[in-house]
Amino acid sequence: MPTLSNIKSSIILNVRAIKARAYVRIVGQQRELSWLFFDSFLPLLSIAAFVYVYKAMQAPPEFTGFVILGGAMTAFWMNVLWSMASQFYWEKEGGNLQLYLIAPMSRMSILAGMALGGGFSTTIRASSALLVGIFIFHIPINIIHPWLTLAIFVVTLLALYGFGMLFASLYLLFGREAWHMSNLLTEPIFLLSGFYFPVKALGFYVAAVASIIPATLGLDAMRQLAFPDSAQFGFLTVGSELIILSILAVTFIVLARFSLGYMEKLGKREGRLTMRWQ
């Protein structure tokens, strides 16, 4: 039975580990600024393309807002997929993964540190999308329940990062195969989660399946709250979506904990934990 002192030591250890791993990313972003162009400016061009498509079709003005919000959430999805989940692949190739694995900190701390560290650039990217939407495309944003919107956003992020940690566990056993899976998840998820259109358009059953990806319901709920006049485009009610997102967040985080342990054990048994060029 762990003592209070043990629990306190464990918390301190993992907080230090999270801080340290986040430090790498934060400092890296400050010393190598090319991401400002490639990760913040360039994605605005694809967002603008969708906006102009909707404008050309004379779609309701809320659709511009949907694209802008979707573009902002893309930043968080890409952070989860590439700056967290698949980062274990690069750590393995660079020889850092084995040093992480022989250290006493939790594997989730490494991933949390990566996510936190990537949060700065992610926030810049998401904010740029929103600012462009507000000042250039004049999206009719009208948040009448700010705390509920914030709650949805936070729970969506928790669920997204939990999902990312679950996915990261695959990299403990696999190498290139998991890398290809990351590639597979990029574009199809943009479609299935309705990043640039209301997911309701995909039909109930497809949208229901797509709801397993936290971004789907998170985006849908935030759109309903940010653009109250477009409630008819919502998939489920905001309340239902918040409940489902909360369940997803807890489920993914718990599953991630067990999956990281299980995959590590499998990787140790197969001898693939430190195998490079897989």
Binding site: L13, A20, V24
Partner: protein, 331 residues
């Protein structure tokens, strides 16, 4: 009496191979390493040294047998072992190129929960010891190989582990840097008699210089384990013959197959068009047959002498070939 830091019993590790027979990288390995020891594991490439290190550092599961580190089982209690061990592998340069030397070492210290203040004091001291003080603020992607390796060392030692695993720590280093590293290891161990080091190497001289005891490993088996002095005493009843032959020897079997020859090793010097041959023979009476065999096979003896056995000779006698040999002795 010192406590046992590492106990390995009947340890084995098998790797599945798709088209070939499964490979036993380790088989029936038994070792006991006491607290305070600098223990060496000597063997050629592919002998199983790194596999053993990976099992003991909880990166790999054994297929059979047990390993206990500091009283904890590597399979069931890996999480209890990690706080007091660390590992440095020669040739590996972990870390992040965008960070400075100091930042990288601090980073890895945090993964062991070391307060930043304590970590910085240790980093200051260790940078001074290995001569990297002036590279403290240099990004590691600008360090030379030797400097990166020194940084890698500090990264391992900054956590002040009770048990340190060093896997070929001087691999690829030039002579002066390797000497600094060896001196560092010796001094570090002397500071605290509760520290233990398991060092793997394929450099005979390193094992002889540093280690209180050496285990010789070949093809996954421990073939001998004792102090270098006692291992060399085993060869008292054997004679070591060293010859320089020209042209370079392509096939050692005419010498190896001679009655009375326990083992042969060859090192070629293509520039000088000669081979340095070391033979372990039963006694002096084998020597004329040896000289005859070399001349009958078209080789000229440039030099010839009989000498006191070294650890390399022990290896040749036990394994039947040299540490760098690729040739297999005949069955």
């Amino acid at each position: 009496m010192n406590r046992e830091a590492i106990i390995v019993e009947k340890l084995g590790r098998k790797f599945k191979q798709k088209k070939e027979q499964d490979l036993w990288a380790l088989k029936e390995v038994n070792l006991t390493i006491n607290e305070g020891e600098l223990f060496g594991l000597l063997g050629p490439n592919g002998a199983g040294k790194t596999t053993l290190i990976k099992i003991l550092t909880t990166l790999l599961l054994p297929t059979e047998g047990t390993a206990v580190i500091g009283g904890f089982d590597v399979v069931k209690e890996a999480h209890k072992i990690r706080p007091f061990i660390n590992c440095v592998s020669g040739g590996d340069t972990a870390g992040y190129g965008i960070l400075t030397t100091e930042e990288n070492i601090w980073l890895f210290s945090q993964f062991y929960g070391i307060p930043s203040k304590v970590a910085r004091k240790r980093i200051d001291y260790l940078l001074k010891v290995v001569g990297l003080e002036d590279k403290r603020k240099t990004k590691i992607n600008r360090l030379s190989t030797g400097q990166s390796q020194k940084m890698n060392f500090i990264r391992g030692f900054v956590t002040d582990p009770r048990i340190m695993f060093l896997d070929e720590p001087t691999l690829g280093l030039d002579v002066s840097v390797a000497m600094d590293v060896r001196n560092f290891i010796k001094d570090w161990l002397k500071e605290n008699n509760q520290r233990t080091v398991l060092l793997t190497t394929h450099y005979m001289m390193e094992a002889e210089q540093l280690c209180g005891r050496v285990a010789i490993i070949d093809k996954g088996h421990i073939v001998a384990c004792d102090s270098p002095r006692k291992l060399k005493q085993r060869l008292k009843e054997r004679t070591t013959v060293r010859m320089k032959l020209t042209p370079p020897v392509k096939d050692l079997s005419p010498i190896r197959n001679l009655a009375g020859v326990s083992g042969v090793s060859s090192r070629d010097d293509s520039a000088a068009n000669e081979s340095d041959i070391t033979c372990i023979v039963r006694d002096d009476r084998v020597v004329p047959d040896l000289v005859l065999a070399t001349s009958q096979n078209g080789y000229k003896v440039l030099s010839f002498h009989i000498q006191e056995p070294s650890l390399e000779d022990v290896f040749i006698q036990l394994v039947g070939r040299g540490l760098d040999e690729e040739n297999q002795p005949p069955e």
